[in-house]
């Protein structure tokens, strides 16, 4: 079977969705199908150009293709008799961001018209799809709310679970992922000042701006935590990320109101590590059953400090929670096998 995976592209931009598309193609090939990635350029600025691009995508032909899996607006407007959608998100500028007054369409005299055109085209496209999946309950809820289209949630599995095999703990708490305000690494450092002196913290990941590392370093010095907090702020290889997770005692991930379960939390669970998160971390909470496989702290230095102390006080207990973490995660069945069964059905 020839399966075409379609995604948008903006030249020289690369992120999670791009990585997922590449992995999806690779996994379909491993199943013995032919798979290819189609990346169509799309620009949303100026918004007046969006309509023409929608028409363009609608006008393209896909010869020699048995299946189409489309990931985003507007590539899912492609015409194909067997189209599945795995929606990573809608064009939010035309929906919830518009309602929230946070869309560039508000600045255009044609904004309303455009929004309606997008909703109409979306409706038609969802309707003609063989199946509609989304990556999260939030995306599904929005799809139902705005387009009245039912969808099943297929959470994206880890791209490289084999790198998170777990292993002996070196006793530190690992905080991975992008380093930026919304991921609140600063709060973790503040929490260290309230945690027992045995707690060690490793923060590793690419900073979003040069300001982030400076702020973290300053805070560490202010609080005198140089001996207990290790910073490794750069784009690490996936193997290095795996190493950090595998050798940790537990993992902390406290983004603010994340849509998804969070790759960092999923990696921690795959590696068999207990997870520390906060009450306001959104989808990440779905990875943690307090007391069983981790801690859901208040987003305060005191509460987080207490959770980190608890994790460090009894390593044997924390290791057991780590095993529970892996079992709980495995039970969710978020695997490429299952994902492909659905996407290719």
């Amino acid at each position: 079977m020839k399966v075409l995976v379609a995604n948008n592209m903006a030249p020289f931009m690369w992120g999670g969705a791009e990585e997922l598309a590449v992995t999806l193609v690779d996994r379909i090939r491993r199943r013995g199908h032919e798979a290819e990635l189609l990346r169509l350029p799309f620009r949303w600025d100026p918004v007046e150009d969006i309509l023409g691009q929608m028409l363009a995508i609608r006008s393209l032909e896909l010869p020699n293709t048995d299946r189409l899996i489309a990931l985003k607006f507007p590539v899912y407007l492609l015409r194909h008799e067997h189209k599945s959608m795995w929606l990573l998100h809608q064009f939010r500028q035309a929906y919830d961001l518009y309602d929230a007054g946070m869309s560039p369409m508000h600045d255009s005299v044609r904004g309303d018209e455009l929004r309606e055109a997008i909703a109409r085209a979306d409706g038609q496209s969802f309707h003609e799809a063989h199946a509609v999946y989304t990556n999260s309950p939030t995306t599904s809820d929005r799809l139902w709310h705005y387009n009245e289209v039912p969808s099943d949630v297929l959470r994206p599995p880890l791209n490289d679970p084999e790198l998170f095999g777990g292993g002996r703990s070196d006793g530190y708490i690992f905080a991975g992922g992008r380093v930026t305000g919304a991921k609140r690494q600063l709060l973790l450092i503040e929490a260290m000042a309230h945690a027992s002196s045995k707690v060690k913290l490793v923060i590793a990941g690419p900073p979003e701006s040069y300001r982030d590392p400076a702020a973290l370093k300053k805070k560490i010095e202010e609080l005198g935590l140089q001996d207990r907090v290790h910073l490794d702020l750069r784009l690490l290889s996936r193997r290095e990320v795996g190493e950090y997770a595998n050798r940790s005692l537990a993992c902390a991930y406290i983004p603010f109101d994340e849509d998804s379960l969070g790759y960092v939390a999923m990696e921690a669970a795959e590696a068999g590590k207990a997870i520390i998160t906060t009450t306001d971390s959104g989808g990440v909470r779905g990875m943690v059953q307090p007391g069983n496989n981790g801690w859901i702290a208040d987003p305060t230095p005191q509460s987080l400090g207490a959770a980190m102390s608890a994790a460090t006080a009894s390593p044997a207990k924390t290791r057991k929670m780590g095993q529970a973490s892996r079992e709980y995660w495995r039970g969710m069945n978020i695997t490429w096998d299952y994902t492909l069964d659905r996407l290719l059905s």
Binding site: M9, P11, R43, A56, S59, E61, L62, P63
Partner: protein, 337 residues
């Protein structure tokens, strides 16, 4: 591109991208799907036209038609062929549609649209003089030749020359493998023939085998109807006596000619093979003969009998690629100038 169809037109994009990256540039490949169904032609041209890469990239290098319809203030075209059925093949037996009024007006509209889109380009290069001539004749557009090289990491194997005339290419009526089978039947020496490559469809591969059987030459011809890996290809060519390449009025000298040059094997071709003749000269670095079984048979026998001369011509072909300046340095210097 056509989904799931690889080959020359994609290779040139991949190789060029690799060479640009090796020289420190940032590169994104944009491959847009395209169907050659005549009724879908103009909606697709409009779609390509709606893609605006202004500000997103510093330079857009457009290769296969109709990629040059995209919008960018600094658009450089490395033109490798027209949508030929609407151009030079229109008056030939290879035209893919009937000559109706609507088809003719579509043809004329495409030619006008091509001329306009190409006219926006800041530079236009072609992959051969043949294509450059067509561009001048049909679109009134001047161009500069930039010969496409093989990838830098193309591995040429080293082997003593064998007894076979070897043709590694898609098995296809327009590549005329059947003519070589017919020629083989007229040879008087023990020269052999190897035809390797995936049949494009329509049972041409099966036909070639039957044809060989009917002519009583099955013993001396190998028809290997399948996709051939680069390693196998380079091995087959290295072990050959000479390489055959006789497409009908090809756009360029073709990668098989360059692969022959890498292995220092001469090329056997025909007087009507188009761009191949920009590289291959009769008696110098290969044989160029009339496209008949008789002429090809005589050339095959001579290549087989005068082995020393054959080897000399093979080495001369390798020298010719250097003389023509077939290198990535030349290509990239041109495209970025």
């Amino acid at each position: 591109m056509i989904p799931f169809v690889g080959g020359g037109a994609r290779n040139i994009v991949d190789w060029l991208a690799d060479e640009l990256v090796a020289r420190g540039h940032e590169v994104e490949k944009v491959m847009l799907p395209f169907s050659d169904e005549p009724n879908d032609l103009f909606p697709q041209l409009a779609a390509f036209r709606s893609i605006d890469l202004t500000d997103a990239v510093d330079l857009a290098i457009c290769i296969r038609p109709p990629a040059y319809f995209v919008k960018h203030p600094r658009k450089v075209v490395w033109f490798i062929h027209h949508l030929r059925t609407y151009y030079d093949l229109w008056e030939s037996e290879f035209r893919l549609m009937q000559d109706t009024a609507i088809a003719r007006s579509r043809r004329d509209a495409l030619r006008r649209a091509d001329t306009a889109a190409l006219g926006e380009a800041s530079r236009i290069f072609v992959n051969s003089q043949v294509v450059g001539d067509r561009l001048a004749r049909f679109n009134g557009i001047e161009s500069t030749v930039l010969y496409p090289p093989l990838p830098a990491d193309y591995a040429a194997s080293s082997k003593p020359a064998g007894d076979s005339i070897t043709y590694v290419s898609r098995l296809d009526l327009t590549k005329r493998q059947h003519l070589l089978v017919e020629a083989l039947a007229l040879t008087t020496t023990e020269v052999r023939l190897v035809l390797a490559g995936k049949a494009a469809g329509g049972g041409y591969g099966v036909y070639l085998k039957e044809h060989a059987a009917n002519l009583g030459v099955s013993e001396r011809v190998t028809v290997d109807d399948r996709w051939v890996s680069d390693e196998e290809k380079s091995d087959l060519i290295a072990g050959s006596l000479a390489v055959a390449y006789l497409p009908v009025d090809e756009d360029s000298y073709g990668y098989p000619s360059l692969e022959a040059a890498r292995a220092q094997r001469p090329v056997l071709t025909t007087t009507d093979s188009g761009g191949v003749l920009e590289l291959v000269r009769d008696g110098v670095n290969g044989r160029v003969v009339e496209p008949t079984a008789e002429a090809l048979a005589a050339a095959m026998d001579e290549l087989f009998t005068n082995r020393e001369q054959t080897a000399l011509m093979g080495r001369a072909l390798a020298d010719s690629t250097v003389e023509l300046g077939i290198s990535w340095d030349t290509v990239i210097e041109g495209l970025l100038s």
